[in-house]
């Protein structure tokens, strides 16, 4: 572990005048926006197909770092650090995903004499292995999901443990995360094959065959606590975020605060989260993720040692800018908030906008965006990296942005987000916007009584969404569209032979 004095280079000097953002997409733009607010110059890095991406256009400086393949561009540690040095950047912000939770990268940034806007490499390392994180948390008195804290390779031992904690159990890759590398086992008979396939999957996906066992929680809630720590040892926590609306372990809609959490739990979870941060000597923004059972018991699941996708809901209910706080902490400044706990004012809800088609099993829908109309109005925020004319690439994650709404009450915040999504218009690329609206209007979500099974429940019996008024107007519109198209087609044939059809669409006729 590096001593604080060498880790933190902010003292006195002229630092943090220029930040390199080692990321792409909406998060790169979001970080750059705060930099602009603070008068800090920004350096974008980009892969070949990303030349026209918004983060490149928005930055003060931009440098090509490699081909589309992330391992040769956005995950290329040497190239990124070289670019930071050449451009004269004094710090690197990793965003989320890519290198954000890579201890080796954080260390390399420090070794290059630059500031890493994030925690110490040792904190990232400590939380990188699930078994290690469970050990640390248990030692610090933080409740973890019942199970073991060491990896296990002997099947007979595994069977013994599984029987002790009781089926169903979860087998999880120690190096896993983001919902990958885990398997539910219902009975002792199923254990052997599941045990073997989880080990091989862990080896294949994470190059680490270590797995462990924990109790399977039936339809848990997923609730997390944002924490912040400065270099002076001050740790604060924020009102919780509810992230139980998930599809295949990926978050879809998040809100803050949570209907499920009462004041007593809120204080307790905040205290536990701060304890967890202290246990790994944490600095900067981090998130403690908890699983909650139906009896409101909460268990530590993992700590994310970076800014989260859903951080805007916390910003909306607190009026704070978490990226600004990250930068100030990286400069060595103490947290301006002296209270241990920052409560929520009102309610905020976020929907993740993805280039995928809910009607075709959420198949990705890359393409060229021909038209983009962003929602507006009071207390609506759009964090997106798309614009009219941009390409949504097949090479990267399908999440293209987030729409967030705030209101004094939960009901109004939901309605406001629903309204904002109804205004959103994207042509050229199918998105999940309508699916988000259907969930926002789904009774269990509206009531606030839901858990991680919500989307399965919705998909079993989606409520009727389209009424006869929509159908009639759609048919009238379809007729108008076809009529105008046919007329245009005729004019084209008459005036310019059959060549250029660009005005009809950006698709190529075959």
């Amino acid at each position: 572990m590096s001593p604080l004095s060498t880790w933190w280079r902010g003292a006195g000097g002229e630092v943090l005048k220029k930040i390199l953002i080692a990321n792409r997409g909406e998060i790169a733009v979001r970080v750059m926006r705060t930099c602009r607010d603070m008068g800090i110059q920004t350096v974008a890095v980009f892969s070949e197909p990303d030349r026209k991406a918004l983060h490149v256009r928005y930055a003060t400086e931009a440098y090509l770092i490699g081909p589309a393949l992330a391992s040769e561009s956005y995950l290329n540690i040497n190239k990124i650090i070289d670019t930071a040095k050449k451009s004269g950047a004094d710090a690197i912000h990793p965003g989320y995903g890519f290198l954000s939770e890579n201890a080796e990268f954080a260390q390399a940034v420090l070794d290059a004499g630059l500031i890493f806007i994030g925690p110490k490499p040792s904190s990232i390392h400590a939380m990188g292995s699930k078994t290690r994180a469970r050990q640390i948390m248990q030692t610090a008195g933080v409740p973890v999901v019942p199970g073991i804290c060491e990896s296990i390779s002997d099947f007979h031992q595994a069977l013994k443990i599984a029987k002790e904690i009781g089926f169903p159990v979860m087998l999880k890759a120690a190096a896993g995360g983001g919902g990958k590398g885990m398997r539910k086992v219902e009975t002792a008979e199923d254990l052997q094959s599941a045990f073997e396939s989880t080990i091989s999957e862990a080896q294949n996906s994470f190059a680490d065959s270590a797995i462990y066992i924990e109790k399977f929680l039936e339809n848990p809630r997923h609730i997390e606590v944002q924490i912040f720590a400065d270099t002076q040892g001050h740790v604060i926590s924020f009102a919780e975020r509810e992230c139980s609306v998930q599809r295949r372990h990926q978050k879809v809609i998040e809100e803050s605060p949570s209907c499920f959490v009462n004041e007593e739990m809120r204080q307790k979870m905040g205290q536990v989260a701060r304890q967890a941060a202290l246990a790994v000597d944490y600095v900067g923004a981090g998130t403690i993720e908890f699983l909650l059972d139906a009896h409101k018991n909460f268990y530590f699941m993992e700590m994310n040692t970076r800014l989260q996708v859903e951080h805007p809901v916390t910003e909306m209910v607190t009026g704070l800018d978490l990226v600004e706080m990250q930068i100030k902490v990286a400069r060595g400044e103490p947290l301006e908030i002296r209270e241990q706990y920052v409560p929520a004012k009102g309610w905020a809800v976020e929907g993740r906008l993805c280039a995928e088609d809910p009607l075709q099993n959420f198949m990705p829908t890359p393409g060229n965006i021909r038209h983009f109309r962003q929602p507006g109005g009071p207390y609506v925020r759009t964090d997106a990296a798309i614009y009219t004319g941009c390409d949504v690439l097949i090479d990267y994650d399908p999440m293209i942005g987030k729409i967030i709404a705030w209101a004094p009450t939960r009901n109004l915040a939901i309605k406001r987000l629903d309204r904002a999504l109804s205004e959103l218009t994207i042509k050229g690329c199918t998105t999940n916007a309508m699916f988000l609206r259907q969930i926002l209007n789904f009774e269990p979500f509206v009531s606030g009584i839901y858990d991680t099974s919500l989307i399965n429940q919705f998909q079993k019996e989606p409520p009727k969404w389209v009424e006869s008024e929509h159908e009639i107007v759609a048919m009238l519109g379809g007729a108008l569209f076809n009529f105008k198209r046919e007329k245009k087609m005729q004019t084209h044939v008459n005036t310019r032979e059959f060549g250029d059809r660009q005005q009809l669409s950006n698709w190529q006729l075959k």
Partner: protein, 176 residues
């Protein structure tokens, strides 16, 4: 001009006539009901309409631009999407005739539903496949998507190979 719409298996007849004396005015008859419509195109596919006094923004997405006999539309009205098929009379007749030919020849075309890369081809020419069997895995945006056979039969011809990048709608193979 006459159109035939198919909405959830039910056919609807539509006739549309521009009102010659007034620009942007149309008389549309749908299943025997008359609608007076004032329509202005904003982009080629967004139309602002006033239908009998009510204002609607209609946002239309044609699912397949390259095939004139594929009339599938996604139409967004008041933020809700209605999926339907619509062809004008002439194209509808052509399509019906083609459908007859197709069912006689029994050839099924398997196309990539999206642009991406062919990660794996699971069958080769001459293979016997059953309905629902996986034929190829196409990768886009870090997600793998398996294309399944819509009928049982023999793989007649394979047009792409593993590792190829393909456009949306590209013909991958045929099944007989």
């Amino acid at each position: 001009m006459k159109f035939i719409a198919n909405l959830e298996g039910v056919e609807h007849l539509i006739s549309l006539e521009p009102v010659q004396t007034q620009e942007s005015q149309y008389l549309i008859t749908l299943d025997g009901h008359d609608y007076r419509v004032d329509a202005h195109s904003m982009l080629s596919e967004i139309v602002t309409t006033i239908i009998d006094g009510k204002s609607y923004d209609i946002d239309i997405e044609k699912q397949n631009i390259s095939d004139p006999l594929d009339g599938r539309l996604g139409v967004r009205v008041l933020g809700r999407v209605v999926y339907l098929e619509m062809l004008d009379e002439r194209h509808k007749k052509m399509k019906d005739a083609q459908a007859v030919r197709f069912s006689e020849s029994g050839l099924v075309r398997i196309c990539s539903p999206m642009p991406g890369k062919i990660l794996r081809l699971l069958v080769s020419e001459g293979d016997l496949v059953t309905e629902g069997q996986g034929l190829a895995v196409v990768e886009a945006m870090k997600m793998e998507n398996e294309l399944k056979s819509s009928k049982s039969g023999h793989v007649k011809e394979v047009f792409k190979k593993q590792g190829d990048s393909v456009d949306g709608g590209a013909l991958l193979l045929t099944i007989e």
